[in-house]
Amino acid sequence: MTQYGFYFDSSRCTGCKTCEMACKDYKDLSQTVAFRKVYDYEGGTWTAADDGSYTTDAYAYHVSLACNHCDMPACMGACPSGAIDKDQKTGIVRIHDDKCTASGACVEACPYNVPILDTEKGYAVKCDLCYDRVTNGQNPICVEACPLRALEFGEIEDLRAKYGDTAAIAPMPSPDETQPNIAIKACDAAKEPGDSTGSIANEMEVTGTPAA
């Protein structure tokens, strides 16, 4: 089986969210729904020395994430009605709305905040890696849109061979749980998963809940 996935270069990403907007436009998503989200991860402090000078370890970087089309999709495992499947040919994880009861079990289970209950449509929705485009030999729309060339699409084996096996930087969880098909280039500031020095600065924007 071929397994497609994304590559994300966090040393290039400026957090402009063009990927997110291109996706919303192409997929005709409503105001409150986004299949790709850009997480702003920030931390560190300024410290005053006795001589009046200041030092800082403050940092900020961006993590652009859509569905990772995991090898062990938690959403698929949780779905009671078999509405989520993993395509044999592409490894793409898709929600089939004709079987979705909108129970929300996938939303609860996904550690990447990916499936969303679209209350207007009455079913759960998420990134399908632009299935129609990629099976026609085109790139996903977010990859095409990125002005910094920070996103790439391809077979995950090729992407990992080219860019390495890193599959998580903070604030992402450890990849052990669901084995996400994403390759990441960590920027200099990037922290390991489980890092406690920083936090998501745009919590309200990406998760709909105010920052803690």
Partner: protein, 285 residues
């Protein structure tokens, strides 16, 4: 964090349905105690309607969080694979067996052997339902749910509310069995004690559960207070139930005391069930 679950409807579901099922089982088991008079058995059969109705209200509450109930039949395609499908199947089986038994019991000639097998099947479905419900939250990416405390809390909650509801149903049926009353109050008391200990133990583990953004203890800061409220309200409920066993209480007094007892124990369970859903978080965002 963008929870799709309607927490409160599921809290209502997991409060009422398991409690109703346990009450049904308590009353059904009384029928296996020989010898039981024909009149007594008939009364018990009629008032099985009370626990069945309570369980049914719970099931209806659980259905209200479905955005597209029209696709609900697909849930049966996940049987064996999906814990939620197993839960739904056992719930449907219980409702079908318990409901059909209740209706069959109106027949003049309902062979006793058949009746016993029928109700035993309903008991088995009920036990299965509680087991499946308690396992439906073992989602490995949700560390606050995927613990041994989840099934323990659910089972102890059912064993707290169920016997008190059975006491109330027996009062409705105007049956007076002191021995059974004492047994039910004792069972509820033990369940409250064991359940509260489990809740306190669960609370103690929360500060150790964290994702990149938040610890579980921060999610529901009032959890400890809720558990104390559970202890206080639950104890008050059991005290009312126990008071109803006094020989000096009038029939109307018994009915009223047990009704209040039911409301109190269900409230005690609901408080901790609601917090359970608020404790949802994933290992990621």
């Amino acid at each position: 964090m963008n929870s799709g679950f309607d927490e409160l409807s599921l809290a209502v579901f997991t409060t009422l349905a398991p409690g109703g099922v346990i009450a049904f089982i308590c009353m059904a088991l009384a029928m296996f105690k020989s010898p039981i008079g024909k009149q007594e058995e008939m009364k018990l059969n009629r008032y099985l309607a009370v626990p069945i109705a309570v369980a049914l209200i719970g099931f209806i509450a659980s259905a209200t969080h479905l955005g597209t109930p029209a696709n609900a039949l697909h849930v049966f395609s996940g049987i064996g694979r999906s814990p939620l499908s197993n839960e739904v199947l056992s719930a449907v089986a219980f409702l079908f067996l318990a409901g059909s038994y209740w209706m069959m019991a109106f027949k003049e000639r309902f062979p006793k052997a058949l009746a016993r097998i029928w109700i035993a099947a309903a008991i088995a479905a009920g036990v299965l339902f509680i087991a499946m419900t308690s396992l439906a939250y073992s989602v490995s990416t949700v560390p606050t749910w995927d613990t041994a405390f989840t099934p323990a809390n659910l089972v102890f909650s059912a064993l707290l509310a169920g016997p008190v509801l059975a006491l109330f149903s027996i009062a409705c049926a105007n049956l007076d069995s002191r021995a059974m009353g004492i047994a039910l109050v004792a069972l509820a008391g033990i369940a409250l004690t064991a359940g509260s200990i489990t809740l306190f133990m669960h609370e103690a583990t929360l500060s150790g559960i964290a994702n990149n953004e938040i610890t579980a203890a921060q999610l529901v800061p009032e959890y400890l207070a809720t558990i104390w409220a559970h202890v206080a309200i639950g104890s008050a409920g059991i005290a009312c139930a126990a008071a109803s066993l006094k020989k000096t209480v009038s029939r109307r007094g018994v009915f009223a005391l047990r009704l209040v007892a039911c409301l109190l124990v269900f409230a005690a369970v609901f408080a901790t069930r609601a917090d359970f859903y608020f404790l949802h978080m994933t290992v990621g965002f």
